[in-house]
């Protein structure tokens, strides 16, 4: 089945032209640079560099035109690479829905492990387990899925995490029907409580209704 790709950001257009906006705080930066480009896929990628604690840097995409039907899913895909782990927890990606509130986080811990977090209608979160540590200095393809509950009375919403095409963890099922009725924004970078010295590259960021098969050469993941 061919996925419906709502967008795919390759970071090739100047002034972050594929994004709705970018935000930098303090001395932290977000740049389009050649060194941050996934191999053989254009010239530029996105690099965030955090200078001091709490000085966030991230890119933002308006996704308010995407209709997430009951029982439907969104898959947020991206290549990421980091030279070292953050000193403490980082949020690499978040999705807002229902106007301004965060509805999900992609969380990276100080051991290089990631997990998906999804907010339920009652305001609490459900989580996937943590992945194994992501090796530093190589690209990893992350796909983070969120499924909306199929009806207002069905607690069958769920978040699932895939790395390099393989499912690694999923949360328990939960009621998120209202929470995800109206999508708002997707944020990618270092979103909140950013850690001094953290650097991370992002490329090929996509949002689709199922997992987008990333570009791989000769059946092998490029590192």
């Amino acid at each position: 089945v061919i996925p419906i790709i709502h967008f795919r950001v390759l970071n090739e257009i100047p002034n972050f032209g594929e994004w709705t906006a970018i935000i930098e705080e303090g001395d932290s930066t977000i740049d389009q640079v050649e060194d941050a480009s996934y191999p053989h896929r254009g010239k530029l990628g996105l690099r965030i560099s955090i200078a001091n604690y709490g000085e966030d840097a991230y890119a933002l995409k308006d996704i308010s035109d995407i209709d997430l039907r009951p029982g439907g899913s969104i898959y947020i895909g991206m290549f990421i690479r980091m030279p070292s782990y953050p000193s403490s927890d980082e949020i690499l990606c978040s999705i807002t829905a229902q106007s301004t509130y965060v509805a999900g986080y992609l969380h990276l811990d100080a051991n290089g492990r990631i997990r998906g977090e999804m907010r339920k209608d009652d305001g609490d979160f459900v989580y996937t387990n943590y992945s194994s540590p992501l090796a530093t200095d190589i690209w990893h393809y992350i796909s983070w899925a969120i499924r909306r509950a199929s009806s207002p009375t069905s607690a069958d919403g769920q978040t699932t995490l895939f790395i390099n095409g393989a499912e690694v963890a999923s949360s328990s099922e939960a009621d998120n029907y209202d929470r995800f009725s109206t999508l708002d924004r997707l944020l990618v970078g270092s979103i909140t409580d950013s850690r001094a010295g953290f650097v991370c590259d992002f490329d090929e960021i996509s949002l689709a209704d199922r997992m987008v098969r990333p570009f791989i050469r000769g059946g092998r993941w490029l590192r």
Binding site: G17, I22, G26, T96
Partner: protein
């Protein structure tokens, strides 16, 4: 692009327009095709929009979100779940 970003981060671009968004003082310092460069108190943003009005709306929501994310984490239950 690199030189422009350096000047943007150093606060060297001349102010084209001053505005207030919520309680934030915001300065528009550069326009280039759809991109609009804004500076605030210890933050910067590039917003891609078709008009200044659209860009300000995008920025407005983002500035509000930053505050509400913090405040909302303690009281964020949807009416249907209460």
């Amino acid at each position: 692009m690199r030189r422009l970003m350096e000047r943007f981060r150093q606060g060297e671009l001349p102010v084209l327009k001053r505005l207030t968004i919520g309680k934030a003082d915001v300065r528009l310092v550069h326009r280039e095709e759809r991109a609009r460069f804004y500076q605030g108190n210890n933050w910067r943003a590039i917003v891609n929009a078709d008009s200044d009005e659209e860009a300000v709306n995008i920025l407005q929501v983002e500035l509000r979100r930053t505050v509400e994310d913090i405040e909302g984490d303690t009281n964020n239950t949807l009416p249907s779940a209460q």
